[in-house]
Each structure stands twice: as structure tokens, then as C-alpha cells.
Subunit: 221 residues, 2 copies
């Protein structure tokens, strides 16, 4: 297959995915559900952030837990008394609309105020695929290093919020240049909101929850 | 395109890649070059590990630095006085043989004792592609959490060594279950070597360098 034909095919696949995502997003909104897509590296703290948000958000919540394999994370979510659906991608490195629709169907018509998708731990591929969420956010943990903003620019460009996690590690990481991170990230994405959080200490979590509530109100208005 | 046809195409692409990798590996060995492919999440500490290895390995060394974008890492390698070639994948989430061959050509026929490929920060896609290396290793940093072994099993299966990095963080991560990690990883891959390291304190680095020297001698014998 030549390069031009490959690019055409990729464009068609992504366009079909975006069309399905738009339809799904509209249907969710009509049912009063606000969906957030949570992305970040393996170990950035996605599941732990969710556990910290549950107690700060009012309303019914469900989580679609996407993993290449295993049910480790969905078990943690269920243990917190929150509805979780496991989405195993069987080796696929990102989540597409077909997978989201299938996972959502497993919620059997129940309506939720909050729906979270915990995406595959990956700073690359998930950025390319619209998953039907109203809001996309990314996590960057302090131990990963601030320079990821130079290496994975697409992820920073497509998200509404950058959530810096594990900020209790900052004293151990004097090289973590928060100013350089924020400067570069807002250059890539001028409207980006930045939250500096620690699920351990609770820092920044109330602000994040308040912002999500605002975003929900705006999206469902 | 139906699913069967898609799988056939994927198989063909991977097979062509493996054939090219075998030829490349053989050609390197005949020139006395031992190549190691270093994989791991964003921020697992790949570049820092390399900087710690240079002083412990005798001989001429070169690094192919693969990144989606930016030259942050290759600049660090060059600052250490080591030859580095930047391989920008322009959005692609893994490294394939064509890219390796192109990067290697930029070394302009010079021979090296050690060639390292620092792969894209990603625990998923790079595991699927043979890059022509004699040895594949993966990093898992303590702050990422030990449960990654359940979620990204292919990476643990295809590597010869698991290098646990940032072990100076262990006191801060009492939940990091090293025994469970090693048990599961060696179930996936009975021959897996495990090194527990810290580039900061130097722990485990001499053992890792000694093992790489053994592997080089065996591969080039």
C-alpha cells in the first residue's frame, strides 16, 4: 500500500470515529450524563485520582476502565462502591468509539450524572481518538518529569486540562520545572487549565472537582 | 476491510519487519556491535539509566534516541560525550526497522561496540516490533507501581531483563510489592532477569553493566 493511500485510509477511520463520537456525546447529554476521558502514562495515578474525585462529586457515577489486560483497576473502583465496567482492549493501545459503545451498553440503560473513561496508560495513541467524552483531561505525574511536554505535544494539545499528579513528590524532584511545563503547555494549548494535585494529601482536588462541576453544567445546559 | 483481512495485513507487516530485523542484527554482529533496545513508560528513566551505564561499559558507544518529537534526550546524551542520533517518529507510537536503518545510516559507517536504542516511552506498541536489537530490556519505575505487570503483559514477555528503576523511591511507596511483581513477571517469562536499580544512588548499576557485557560476549561469540 503506498503512503498516500495509507493516509487516506487513516483519515477515513478517524473521521468515522469522530462522527460516531459526536452522536454518542449528544445522546449522553440528553440523558444528563457528562463524560470525562482521563488519559496519562502508565502509573500517572488515573485510578487514584478517580477514587479521590468520587467523594467530591455529587450524583451517580460510573467508570469505564480500559486496560490492555486485567481487571486490577475496575476492582479498585468497585471496592469504592462505584459502578465499573471493564473494557479489555486485548492488546490495542487506545480506545475507539466501538469499544466505548459496547462498554456503555453493559451499563444496561442506567443513567449516571458522571461517566468517566479511564483510558489506556499511554501518552501517544489515545490522543488521536475521540471517545465521545465531553471533556478530555490528561495526567502528568511529578516523577515522570516535566519534559514530557516536549515529547508528547499532541496529548497536551487535545486536552482541556492538565492535571499534575503526585505533587507531594516535588521536594524530591528539584529538577521538575513547573514554570517551563506550564509555559510550554499553554503555548501548545492556550486555553489549557492546569491543576496541581496530590491524591495523598488532597492538594488541588477540591479545585479540580469544582471545575468538573462547572464543565458539566456548561455542557448539559 | 473485514477483521480477517486486517489481521492478515498486520501479520504480513510484522513478518516483513522481523525479516529485516534478523538481517540487521546479523550485520551488526559481524561488525562487532551489540545492540540493546530500551523500552519503558514515559518518565521511567531510560535516558538517565543510559547516562549511568556509559561510565560502566568499556568501548565505543552510540545511542539512537527515538522520540515522537523534540531532541531533549539526544542533547543529554551528547552532553555526556556519547554519539547520539535523533529518530523523530512524527507521531508514530513505536519504532520499526525502516526507522532504525535510517538512523543507523546517519552513523556514517562508524563501528561501535555498544549501540542502544532508546525506544518511544510506551509500554504497549513497542513490544510488538523487533528493532534488530540483540537484547531487549524494559524499565519499570517504582513510582509507576508494580501492578503494571498485570496490565501490560506483552512487554514483560518479550524482554530479557526487567530493570526496576528509581528504587530510592521504595521507602515512599510501601505498596510497591516487589515479590508480587517478580513472581508474576517470571510466570510470564521464566528466563527474565530482574535488576533493581537507582541511577541516583548507583544501586544495581554495576550488576546491570556486568550482565550486559556477558550478553554482548555471548551474542558476538
Amino acid at each position: 500500500m503506498d503512503e498516500v493511500r495509507k493516509l487516506e485510509l487513516k483519515h477515513q477511520v478517524l473521521q468515522a470515529n469522530t462522527d460516531a463520537a459526536d452522536a454518542f456525546r449528544g445522546a449522553l447529554a440528553r440523558r444528563g450524563t457528562f463524560m470525562t476521558d482521563i488519559m496519562g502514562s502508565p502509573g500517572a495515578g488515573k485510578t487514584t485520582l478517580l477514587l479521590g474525585l468520587f467523594e467530591r462529586l455529587q450524583g451517580e457515577t460510573a467508570v469505564i476502565e480500559a486496560d490492555i489486560e486485567s481487571t486490577v483497576d475496575s476492582e479498585k473502583i468497585k471496592a469504592a462502591g462505584v459502578t465499573a465496567v471493564q473494557l479489555e482492549t486485548n492488546g490495542v493501545c487506545h480506545v475507539e468509539m466501538g469499544m466505548v459503545e459496547q462498554a456503555h451498553a453493559a451499563l444496561a440503560g442506567r443513567d449516571f450524572d458522571w461517566l468517566f473513561l479511564e483510558n489506556i496508560g499511554n501518552l501517544v495513541c489515545p490522543a488521536e481518538f475521540d471517545t465521545g467524552a465531553h471533556c478530555r483531561v490528561m495526567l502528568l505525574s511529578v516523577p515522570e518529569g516535566y519534559d514530557k511536554v516536549y515529547k508528547y505535544p499532541l496529548m497536551f494539545s487535545v486536552c482541556e486540562a492538565l492535571i499534575v499528579t503526585k505533587c507531594d513528590y516535588l521536594p524530591l524532584n528539584p529538577d521538575f520545572d513547573m514554570d517551563a511545563l506550564v509555559e510550554r503547555a499553554t503555548l501548545l494549548n492556550p486555553d489549557l487549565r492546569v491543576f496541581v494535585t496530590s491524591a495523598r494529601t488532597g492538594e488541588g482536588m477540591d479545585e479540580l472537582a469544582a471545575w468538573l462541576k462547572e464543565r458539566r453544567s456548561a455542557a448539559l445546559a
